[in-house]
């Protein structure tokens, strides 16, 4: 008999670099990604050949990575990706990143599109599940991870 798919929900709090609510499929990458030179802004594909996420697509995902990296031109690239709809729906970082913050702040100012940026503990967040970001009572970020467990997984 096939069990109904159960889910495991975990919740953790974080700090907003740019506040907002969002939701999407988690794309977890182990190494920092530079948006400048690392993303095709027309598609959202990761194009950095030295990055393990090469070939994955960030559009509409909740991008989870340790930190940002590289040139301040990444601010422009992120803002342009947000304008085109090829940016992530939100980004979770372990360490704050001023360059990504600028891109997200300016895109919200210019186009009214919110791309929340959260600093939180990212340990143990696997790719593929869904992540929802909300705002707590004291303005903190509430990150809810909904991992779809398979029959052989946590449901057992």
């Amino acid at each position: 008999m096939i069990r109904p798919v159960e889910t495991e929900v975990t919740e953790r709090s974080g700090t907003f670099q740019l506040a907002g609510i969002t939701e999407g499929q988690a794309l977890v990458i182990s190494q920092p990604l530079s948006f400048w030179g690392g993303i095709d802004v027309e598609t959202g594909d990761i194009t950095d050949h030295s990055h393990p996420g090469l070939g994955q697509n960030v559009a509409g995902k909740i991008l989870v990575m340790p930190s940002g990296r590289g040139s301040s031109s990444s601010s422009s690239v992120l803002a342009e990706a947000i304008r085109r709809g090829t940016a992530p729906a939100g980004i979770l970082l372990e360490r704050p990143d001023p360059i990504l913050a600028v891109g997200a702040i300016v895109a919200e100012f210019l186009y009214g599109i919110s791309m929340p940026l959260v600093v939180c503990d990212i340990a143990g967040l696997p790719s593929g599940g869904r992540i929802a970001v909300g705002v707590g009572a004291d303005g903190e970020a509430i990150v809810r991870f909904v991992g779809a467990a398979t029959a052989g997984g946590a449901a057992v």
């Binding site: 802004v41 040139s71 422009s76 342009e80 300016v106």
Partner: protein
């Protein structure tokens, strides 16, 4: 942690000083909150790295500030753009890209920025002084201002530099504050009687950039530089291989009279010994080309060639007299170029293949006539970025070797 704003900051935020000042302050406040700054501070100048066209968002931002009646509140210089406005026709670009790229340069002027279009604003009359708080973009300019002059800026760029210029304010954070300027990592150069050659400074820059990442490096054992251009080359290389925004060279740079001063009385987190072999290795990675390879061009002046560098180059050109028509591009600021032209210093130099380039740089836009063959440069930064940006093969060498190679038509290097 809350950000403390002055009455004037709040008046800007509330729109009492115009729509654009309000927008710039709103973004600056959001940014300051994102990085955890407690307050803002006054700046005396800004340098904007916003004139290279990366897409519509960049232009939309500047246009919004122009529409809102925005004006910069402090003297503000502009970094290179996509065009040489002094030499029309030099840059080849499809019209669909050319229109917004030209508009981006002009829109910045409408905000009251100065038409400097140089990556070396420290060579202009807007050069800051020791201890001044500034908000600069462009990695080589940032590291030069902090390290060689002792002015204070973080690594700004992309939107925030312009918000600082429009408001005259910057977050009181990072390298604006004395304690953040202390050295963290020590590089001990173990070189016997080192000659202050240009390539030595480039090599040291490449090494400290790679190993420091974003920690403030301190260098001992560096020979006294011939001039500030050698420190320019060191900083540009360090900001290419790493995120170095400030370095201290003990006995040379203004905040490092002694080792103790550079580390503000504390101990380094890490000490790295640098040998001649390390430097040779770092430099060899800049050119995978054997001597004798056919040469298609020489590119000098990244960062922009100073007047002093021109005064070294021009006698060298007359002496070596390259006559094969191999172009020798020299990127330079328009103010420097004007001064040379007024002096008549460039008269007759075209015969040696000299092509001065102003307002832009040969590795950010399409200037080079030929992309086959090898391009020689004395710039660590150009050698690092040009293969990826414009698809050329690069040979790094001292300036004299670049000119000698142009004369014989293939790569020659005296050191090898």
């Amino acid at each position: 942690m809350t950000l403390e704003l002055t009455a004037r900051d709040r008046s800007m935020l509330d729109g009492e000083q115009g729509l654009s000042a309000a927008a710039a302050m709103k973004i600056l406040v959001a940014f300051s909150n994102a990085i955890g700054a407690r307050s803002l501070l006054d700046i005396t100048g800004a340098h904007i790295d916003g004139c290279l066209y990366h897409g519509k968002a960049g232009l939309d931002f500047v246009e919004r500030l122009v529409e809102g009646g925005g004006r910069v509140r402090v003297p503000t210089t502009l970094n290179v753009g996509s065009f040489d406005l002094i030499h029309p026709g030099m840059v080849k670009m499809p019209e669909a890209e050319e229109v917004p790229a030209r508009r981006l340069m002009k829109a910045h002027l409408e905000l009251g920025c100065q038409a400097t279009f140089t990556c070396a604003p420290y060579q202009t009359r807007f050069r800051p002084e020791f201890g001044q708080q500034i908000a600069w973009g462009e990695s080589n300019a940032i590291v030069f201002a902090n390290s060689v002059i002792g002015a204070r800026t973080n690594r700004y760029g992309d939107f925030i530099d312009l918000c600082c210029a429009i408001t005259g304010r910057a977050p009181a954070w990072g390298l604006h504050l004395s304690e953040s300027r202390r050295g963290r990592i020590l590089f001990e150069l173990g070189l016997a009687n080192p000659e202050p050659s240009d390539s030595l400074f480039v090599g040291v820059g490449l090494i400290i950039g790679q190993a420091s990442v974003d920690r403030v490096p301190v260098i001992t054992g560096l020979p006294q530089p011939r001039d500030e251009d050698q420190l320019k080359a060191l900083g540009a290389a360090a900001a290419t291989t790493g995120a170095v925004a400030l370095f201290h060279a003990v006995g040379i740079t203004p905040e490092a009279g002694t080792l103790d001063e550079a580390f503000q009385g504390k101990a380094p987190d890490e000490t790295i010994r640098v040998t001649r072999a390390d430097i040779d290795h770092a430099l060899s990675r800049l050119s995978g080309v054997a001597d004798g390879a056919p040469l298609s061009a020489v590119s000098l002046g990244t960062p922009h060639f100073s007047h002093e560098e021109w005064m070294r180059l021009l006698p060298m050109l007359r002496e070596v007299a390259p006559g094969r028509g191999i172009p020798i591009y020299v990127n330079t600021g328009r103010a420097t170029l004007t001064r040379l032209q007024e002096q008549g210093a460039l008269d007759g130099m075209a015969a040696f293949g000299l092509i001065p380039v102003a307002d832009t740089c040969t590795y950010v836009t399409s200037i080079l006539e030929r992309l086959d063959g090898v391009v020689m440069t004395n710039s660590g930064k150009w050698a690092h970025y040009a293969p990826g940006n414009i698809g050329v093969t690069v040979a790094f060498a001292e300036m004299r070797d670049c000119i000698r190679s142009a004369a014989v038509g293939h790569v020659v290097r005296s050191a090898s």
